[in-house]
């Protein structure tokens, strides 16, 4: 039954997204620009920093392509849950949804599905364009990459739900979103390997799930690592999941209760 409900949310969001046709196509068009930017930066950088890139196959463009493609999931998770609440609050549709038997957490989760589907399509486009520009993924271990992807979505999704809990209560100024948005690019190994960072800063990288997610994804897609070779990344992501999933659910349950107590469920 939940898949039928999920389908109905996806159809709703697909129709709404495509009803703004110009914006829908622009988003795809400008996606190309960021890939091309990094393609030419990699041409300039060439073999500089090869020692740092060696563990990931040695090519900067391949490294950064995976970084910008999959870090998008974190951005989507951080934005989509809280934005779905805020969007429904501002449109005025949240109250009408909350008065139905569908649970609040289900409403928030299902409202974010479209963003994840759109992001997945975007990642696919990134990878296809990357391959056309010469990125070698002939040895990719797709199964291992899917395992990493699922764990990544679980971790990032949980962080997104914690972030949405803050939005539910505070309406604006969510510290989780701000923290992960500002730290992930710098410490998560999105644009450069974390080995570039001084040791004391690198400690922060090890506390972020994105570090393990991107490292695992690069090893799986660019070098075809086996599941056993990816054990450190998979274990780390599983530990994050075990901690973050219950934390996300509890914080959201508390936030809904608090908002119902304050009478601020539909305020923004």
């Amino acid at each position: 039954m939940i898949y039928k409900k999920a389908f109905s949310f996806i159809i709703r969001d697909l129709i709404l997204a495509t009803s703004y046709k110009f914006e829908f196509f622009l988003r795809f068009f400008f996606m190309l620009f960021s890939i091309l930017t990094f393609y030419f930066v990699s041409k300039l950088v060439g073999g500089v920093g090869m020692a740092h890139l060696e563990p990931y196959g040695g090519d900067y463009f391949s490294f950064v392509l995976i970084g910008i493609a999959f870090s998008g999931y974190l951005m989507t998770a951080l934005r989509s849950f809280s934005e779905s609440i805020r969007g429904e609050q501002m449109m005025g549709t949240l109250e009408a949804m909350l008065v139905t038997p569908t649970d609040t957490s289900a409403i928030v989760t299902l409202s974010s599905l479209w963003s994840f589907i759109f992001m997945s399509f975007r990642v696919l486009m990134y990878l296809v364009i990357g391959i056309l520009l010469g990125v070698d993924m002939s040895n990719a271990n797709v199964f291992a990459a899917l395992i990493i992807l699922i764990l990544t979505i679980i971790c990032f999704g949980s962080i997104g739900i914690i972030s949405a809990s803050f939005i539910m209560v505070l309406k604006r100024g969510d510290p989780i979103n701000m923290f992960f948005m500002s730290t992930s690019e710098l410490f998560g190994g999105v644009l450069f390997p974390i080995s570039v960072l001084p040791d004391w800063l690198r400690t922060i990288s090890y506390l972020l799930p994105i570090t393990y997610s991107l490292s695992g994804m690069r090893h799986a897609l660019l070098q075809g690592y086996s599941l056993s070779a990816l054990a450190p990344e998979i274990t780390a992501l599983m530990v994050f999941s075990v901690v973050l999933v219950p934390l996300g659910l509890l914080s959201f349950k508390y936030a809904v209760k608090r908002a119902k107590m304050d009478g601020s469920l539909v305020q923004y």
Binding site: M1, K4, K5, S8, F9, I11, R12, I15, L16, S19, M91, G92, T93, E95, A96, M97, L98, V99, T100, P101, T102, D103, I107, K257, K260, M261, D262, G263, L265, V266
Partner: protein
């Protein structure tokens, strides 16, 4: 279950937002505002119960507590036999909520698509949903415009769509929060007829309706509760409420004045009275709603 809706000392207090200076000077002081205070009401199945009060009297807070959107601070309430905090899911399964807020729809979706989406939230899918939606569209007279975008509808059509949505799950109880607020007098008049004849008369629903419109309460409701500053001042049929007054042929405004000591704010009362106490006289309205 003797009563469809039953409240026991239902109370809601909201914490007041502190200013920055207050927060610094008295960080632990808890300032509260009582929105609804010790409300005790009992509503029977099939009754059209009106709650009448000026803006800010506590009507919407009371309805939202009964719809499980706001948690009470004290007291309790039962809707269809389910306690509103412990069995909130079951309460929501058995109620419909109709608001005058036209923003509560997706304007870029068609009317039908909106109903399909909200039907899925009520766990109605595919053919079950299609059938129910067609039935409701016919009931509210919107079959021909169902596949147009919601944004192209008039205020009256939007309100009809809100009614169709409120009835999607065939609820036992329908809550209506000022349903005629956004309508012109003629459309409001027809809606009142529709509520009385079709929703209560034909469908046998229990309706809990909030209004700040005196003639609406007077024309429509089996019983009326007058609420002011969060407290229910009096509950009864129109005749019972008037019986307590010495004045000859008193209106509901006089009743309000008698029980609250205040004059009710003047609304735009329609010149003619809705001819639809027909249900009580055995009449009925055959067609759908047109306004």
């Amino acid at each position: 279950m003797e009563y469809t809706i039953e409240t026991h000392d239902l109370t809601k207090k909201f914490a007041l937002q502190k200013g920055f200076t207050d927060f610094l000077l008295h960080p632990f002081r808890k300032d509260e505002m009582t929105a609804v205070e010790e409300v005790n009401i009992k509503i029977k199945k099939g009754e059209l119960f009106g709650i009448l009060g000026p803006n800010g009297a506590g009507k919407t807070t009371l309805i939202k507590m009964l719809c499980t959107l706001i948690l009470p601070s004290e007291g309790t309430a039962y809707v269809n036999g389910y306690e509103i905090t412990k069995d909130s899911g079951k309460v929501r399964r058995s109620i419909g909520f109709i608001t005058a807020d036209e923003r509560s729809f997706y304007w870029r979706l068609t009317g039908r698509r909106n109903l399909k989406f909200f039907a899925s939230l009520h766990n109605f899918y595919s053919e079950d949903a299609e059938e129910r939606i067609d039935e409701l569209l016919s009931l509210v007279g919107l079959e021909e415009r169902a596949d147009d975008r919601f944004l192209s509808y008039s205020a009256g059509m939007k309100q009809r769509m809100a009614i169709a949505r409120g009835l999607l799950n065939d609820p036992e109880v329908v809550f209506m929060d000022e349903p005629t607020r956004a309508l012109d007098p003629g459309a409001a008049q027809h809606l009142r007829g529709f509520i009385r004849d079709r929703i209560v008369g034909d469908e046998g629903k229990t309706v809990f309706l909030s209004t700040h419109h005196l003639p609406e309460a007077e024309e429509l409701c089996d019983r009326i509760a007058i609420i002011d500053e969060g407290r229910i001042r009096v509950v009864g049929t129109l005749d019972e409420l008037k019986a307590g007054l010495d004045k000859p042929d008193p209106g509901l405004g006089d009743v309000f004045m008698h029980y609250t000591g205040k004059e009710f704010e003047r609304g735009a009362a329609p010149k003619h009275v809705y001819p639809g106490r027909r249900r009580m006289m055995g009449g009925g309205r055959p067609g759908g709603m047109r306004f």
